[in-house]
Amino acid sequence: MVEERGIEVAGLVREFKGGIRAVDGIDLQVAAGEIYGFLGPNGAGKSTTVKVLTTLLPPTAGHATVAGFDVSKDGASVRAAIGVALQEVALDPMLTGREHMKLQGGLQGIPRAQRAMRGDELLARVGLSNAADRKSSTYSGGMKRRLDLALALLHGPRILFLDEPTTGLDVQSRTALWEEVERLAREEGTTVFLTTQYLEEADVLADRVGIIDRGRIVAEGTPDALKAGVSKPTVELVPHESEDCGSARTVLAPFGELVPEKRAGSVAVRLNNGGDQLTEIVRALDRAGVAIAHLALHEPTLDDVFLAKTGRSLEGAAEQPTDEAAPPSGNRGAPERVPA
């Protein structure tokens, strides 16, 4: 049996005219069957990485293999092994959904006898059977994304690249696409390399996440490990009576480190031993006679990870002026790799 291979990248660099390094020496490994989330703001280098790994752009330096094939030397073998849905949904507005499948199937070399059946199956799977004979120009954004995904899956790829697949989709379409990606990985063993700028998407879908900023991976690991690595959950409570704030602080102090409150009349503590202490905290407050008006447990997010690694929040990071050619500075050094 042939061993399934995922993605292996070492020191990958992609430089554009003017010396701009969109990808600035990244290393990553994606195991076969894994969903790898590549998270970062706009302009971080996600799409350029995808274009290099899918053979659409040659790397300037470094080495990458996809499904065991070198992206620089064996592009045709890489392309045969992968399915790709790029950031911009690339459809022919004049062709129907079914005609897209026919064209793609023919170019992929799927035998004529299988082509129509396979196309119809995939159109049904992505919920486009009823729209199969309509021109793609009449499709909604979500329908176009689903057709794009069906086209990427047509030749049964072992590795699927999805470049910001849910950007611009409504919640329903986004959830449906997540379910399909999850199913592909869990049931069919497809390796998925997914870029996203949505924290929730990486958190929900990815087995492991690589956080990229200005062409460099700044952190990598499972979402839980990454979050645990930068911060612990915080309990924030608002006493029913504001004069109980002092008592609440005294009660909470043994559970962790008191942190500045986010709003007036609240008390917050970063828990030493995680969210498991919540029951104990409530009991202690009750014993001390502190009535609680509001209590919340704040888990760290991947944004906290991004903030810790780059000094910026992921949401809005793209709006800040970035100089992709700038040398790394501050905590943009070697990425932290957190074991799963």
Binding site: T54, T55, L56, L57, P58, V71, S72, K73, G75, A76, V78, R79, A80, I82, V84, L86, E88, V89, A90, L91, D92, M94, L95, E99, K102, L103, Q104, G105, G106, L107, Q108, G109, I110, P111, Q114, M117, R118, E121, R125, K135, L151, L154, H155, G156, E188
Partner: protein, 265 residues
């Protein structure tokens, strides 16, 4: 779920699929089919009515201006087909469809051939139509039935040459606007050729000189010779020769532009 068995498609299959797509583009956009065919015919009608008096000039080579001017629609139709084909290709580049194609085993040659197949289809349809309309309105083909077939062949070659140019501009510039921006130049070239008046009857020296060095003149004169002269070996050799040179030149340039455009490894 049925597993797909990709065995790799032959270049011929790829060309067929891409040419079929290009043809369906033409058929599904009435403006791409009707306007390029109707406009040259309307212009032919207007010119042949208004300029018929020109045939009374001493030395004018034809008895009717319609006979003389029938070559013009072939040139205009070729230009429109090239413009539309180029714009379609530019749109593929702009909306990322070319990347989708590049991710399949499609060869660059198949892409070019498929793309040009659509333009060739338009060239054949419009050339046949212009000839039929001309004959129906009384144009006599001096070189006979065989000449009419050669005329069609030449018109298709000219159309193909222009299509190669449109493909090159689309691949080089990657924008539909750039393709569109280039084509007024060709209309100027057409007007500065012998399309509307015989070269030896052009009064102004500069115009005659430009028309003499303008390759479009020789393409027009090749078609015209079959209609009004009969078999003129020199005119045909020049027209086919210039078309062949243009085809080879712009195919080579298009291949290079495609290689630059498709950076895939």
């Amino acid at each position: 779920m049925t597993a797909a068995t990709a065995t790799g498609s032959s270049t011929l299959t790829q060309v067929g699929l891409l040419a079929g797509r290009a043809v369906s583009h033409v058929l599904r956009q009435p403006a791409q089919l009707i306007f390029p065919i109707a406009f040259p015919l309307v212009l032919l009608g207007v010119n042949s009515s208004g300029l018929d008096a020109a045939t009374r000039l001493p030395g004018f080579p034809a008895g009717s201006y319609l006979d003389f001017a029938l070559a013009i629609p072939f040139m205009q139709g070729a230009l429109f087909a090239a413009l539309n084909g180029g714009q379609d290709l530019a749109r593929d580049i702009q909306n990322g469809f070319l990347d989708r194609l590049a991710l399949t085993p499609m060869s660059g040659g198949a892409l070019l051939a498929g793309q040009l197949g659509g333009a060739l289809f338009m060239g054949i349809v419009s050339a046949v139509l212009y000839l039929v309309v001309g004959v129906l309105f009384g144009v006599g083909i001096a070189s006979g039935v065989a000449g009419a077939l050669v005329l069609l062949l030449l018109a298709i070659a000219i159309s193909f040459a222009f299509a190669c140019f449109g493909t090159f501009v689309a691949l080089r510039a990657g924008s539909g606007e750039a393709v569109q921006g280039f084509f007024p130049l060709f209309f100027v070239l057409l007007f500065l050729s012998s399309a509307f008046f015989p070269r030896d009857l052009i009064e102004h020296d500069w115009f005659r000189t430009v028309a003499t060095y303008n390759p479009v003149s020789y393409m027009v004169e090749g078609i015209r010779s079959l209609v009004i002269t009969g078999w003129d070996g020199q005119a045909l050799a020049q027209a086919f020769g210039i078309s062949a040179i243009a085809i080879v030149l712009f195919l080579v340039l298009s291949s290079r532009a495609l290689r630059t455009r498709l950076l895939r490894t």
